[in-house]
Amino acid sequence: MFSISQDFAPPFKLISPFFILGSLFYLFSSFYIFFFSAADMSFLDTKVIGFVHLFLLGFVMMTIFGAMAQLVPVVLEVGHFGVELFYAIWPLLLIGTLLMVFGFLESPALLPYGGTVVLIAMMVFVMEIFLTMFKVKKLNIVMSSVLISNTFLFFGIIFGLVMALAYAGTIDADIGSLLKAHVYLVVGGYISVTIMGLSVVLIPMFGLSHGFSMKPLEISMGMMSLAVVLVVLSAFIKFDIIENFGYALAIISQLVYFYHIYIIYKTRARKERDIYAISLIFSYLSLVVSLLLGIAYFISSHEPLLLAAAWQMFFGFFGFLITGHIYKIIPFLVWFERFSPLVGKQKVPMLSDMVPKKSSSAQFFFSAIGVSIILVAILLQSDVLMKAGASFLVVGALAFVRSVFYMINFK
């Protein structure tokens, strides 16, 4: 008989702060858009860099770290090395994120402090994951993705800290090269590879997809890993051919990954169009739009195209992929904590009963419209459209925060 240990689930009180803070940072990030000027947006604008850190650290990383506390045991099939360490991660990440965002907006002197606190939070996370992985006897492709992504994160945060020191004037270093390495290691190496690995476990599990090959994942993960290494190398040895090859590989890798998700989608047994399904459809369509905009940028070198590609990747792809999964992960954790002891003794709710239908739908529609309007605003460099899109985004984010609290407090 096959046996599965079920003693790995961390307590909900440990994970819930990650999701609560993540949803609040999603709201703050949406408000932040009001302060953008579409006409003179640039990647080196401190407002843009501050926004990127608010969104990626506060929402994306905070939520991913919380989700990983739950998902690592599911994926690795072993218990955490020290799950209590997650109690230290969220306060550190919260403080570090706030210091960094204020540092970019108001006082660069705060950046090394914020960077150091974020570094400590991430180092605690990475070390916990590495020590947990030591318990794994044989690595499969998904487990390898956890190892690869966390290795990239380790180097990404080192480069980030060095960059923060240079930005604050503490040391003298080429910020442009460090920025390129930092962005690629964290966004391409950590976030993208983590999403690739976890999504091929979670999406088939929720959609009941079976009988598909894992080969496309192996190819896309290998290509993305090579792309990250090439771009990081090219940032320091200044070799354009290697750099461009790295960018091309990254785009092809994402297309292969999209193909894999399409196969999983086609082989699914569950055809319901619930909030999870529609969020993922919007998310993956955003990925394709982002890749097309990225390709258009390489052909034309028109900066708004690159900004639009990044926008659609961050708020469209990462944003909706994460919010969609929140509607699955929080109900499960709450159910496991509050209702699983009652199974067989009284009627217990299904997970779908724990998702607020109206506010989750409102979140999806307002956010999707907001993301799309802002995409157009960036391309047309229109301030009016930017503010209009931000208004929709804020309403969507408020509905998301409401949904998160509803699910967490479900009784």
């Binding site: 599965i4 079920q6 994926v75 569950r270 055809k271 319901e272 499960f332 067989g344 299904m350 779908s352």
Partner: protein, 108 residues
Amino acid sequence: MKFAAVKEKIKEKLRDIYDPEIPVNLYDLGLIYGIDCAKESGGTRCVVTMTLTSATCPVSESILEQVRNISSLIEDEPGLTISANLVFEPPWSKENITDEAKLHLGML
């Protein structure tokens, strides 16, 4: 057929057990591969051979516990004990789902 009645009662109770994520019961989802019963001193012992939709299913232990507890829900079979034999070979596939459940999942 020997044990036909008790097997039918077990099947009926399996239809009351759900993975909280999936709106179809275990039996109609095709997770049950077989029910084998034998007489033992003191009663009947039945083994439910079953699978899960995913080897990493986080509620597996709760589901297996419910299957084992079926014996306490069948009042007119004193001495009945039920154990769950979890297997992943052959793997579950959507072809195992009953037509009624397929309709419920939007597959038909």
